[in-house]
Symmetry: C2
């Protein structure tokens, strides 16, 4: 099993380097669990699948608290058959192979327990369960969960938009990633998160 | 058939609004072919699959020519069974269902014809052929093409990195999107493009 994300943090400011360098300190508590590699386009975090979204939440909230319009973009993946197995990526909890309806309930329950951060954000994402013949069943099941997550904003072409406190929003993203698609299967998630945008939240 | 992309342009500058508003004029020639909708997180461009990457290229090059560190992030999709058919998205060219080896050759040939822009960029992307039992065959075939595209930089976890002139780089991305995965199948592509980064291009 291999799991991780290629993440990029974009502060729309002349001081983008300073904001990024300050925000990445939020990753310090995760460093013992992760392999982290940075180049000019993105930073790889590879580690336990349950830790990926909490790490991205803390990184993004730290940047957003600058008050500057910031976004975070991530390609998140688990179970890719082309990646080497890594003990670092061993799941920390058992995720039993339950029927879709029970997974929807368990995901919803987990989001209600999410800590709040005080930072309001918008997020949009696409979930790709790969190598499954009926991938749309998993996607539609995930959408049912999202609609009852408390942070569902609206469906858009190719993706779903969430909005609210970063705590439940990232918890919802994590549940979507962990519980939909086969437990040992290949699942990818394409994520964009935004805070402090000067644009209004309305389709134009 | 429905095809399009949710795209976001991120200039790392206090003047990000000005740079974006100037760059989006580069989309004007494409407007007659596209449905375009903007909100605070991304802009949808829906239209013929062959036009998506040329439109993103022109938008990104216009922004990058500001000299500011800019990135573009996009979730590109064709053939999603959850999207409505749209005559706007009718492919402009026949893309015959050839064996993998012939598609690799045709893709390589198309890239050699790509116009150059004078703008050097880095790009990384993941290709997701959905609902196909042997999705890794298509991915490995696509990687063979990428390695001979002339703009291949290196493999990274979860994605491939390209670098070079924006012309052949976006042509390579377009060929990967159009020719791999079933011709009428559901294919998604997660893209990040970067220019004028102050960081060196080396894994750290």
């Amino acid at each position: 099993m291999f799991s991780g994300a290629q993440i990029s943090l974009y502060p729309m400011s002349d001081d983008f380097v300073g904001i990024i360098l300050k925000a990445i300190k939020a990753l310090d508590p995760y460093r013992p669990h992760f392999r982290i590699e940075t180049d000019d386009v993105s930073t790889l975090i590879a580690g336990p699948p349950e830790q990926l979204f909490p790490a991205m939440r803390d990184l993004f909230v730290a940047a957003a608290q600058s008050g500057v319009h910031c976004t975070l973009s991530a390609a998140v993946s688990r179970g890719c058959p082309g990646e080497p197995d890594s003990p670092l990526c061993t799941p920390q909890t058992d995720m039993p192979d339950l029927p879709l309806l029970q997974r929807i309930g368990a995901a919803r329950e987990a989001v209600t327990l999410a800590p709040r951060t005080g930072q309001v954000i918008a997020a949009q994402f696409s979930l790709y369960p790969l190598g499954v013949g009926h991938h749309m069943d998993e996607i539609y099941g995930c959408i049912d969960f999202l609609k009852s997550s408390g942070v569902f904003d609206r469906a858009k072409n190719f993706c779903t938009r969430l909005a609210g406190d970063a705590g439940p929003v990232f918890a919802t993203l994590s549940e979507a990633f962990l519980r939909f698609g086969a437990p040992e299967g290949h699942v990818a998630l394409d994520l964009t998160v935004s805070a402090n945008s000067p644009s209004p939240n309305a389709p134009r």
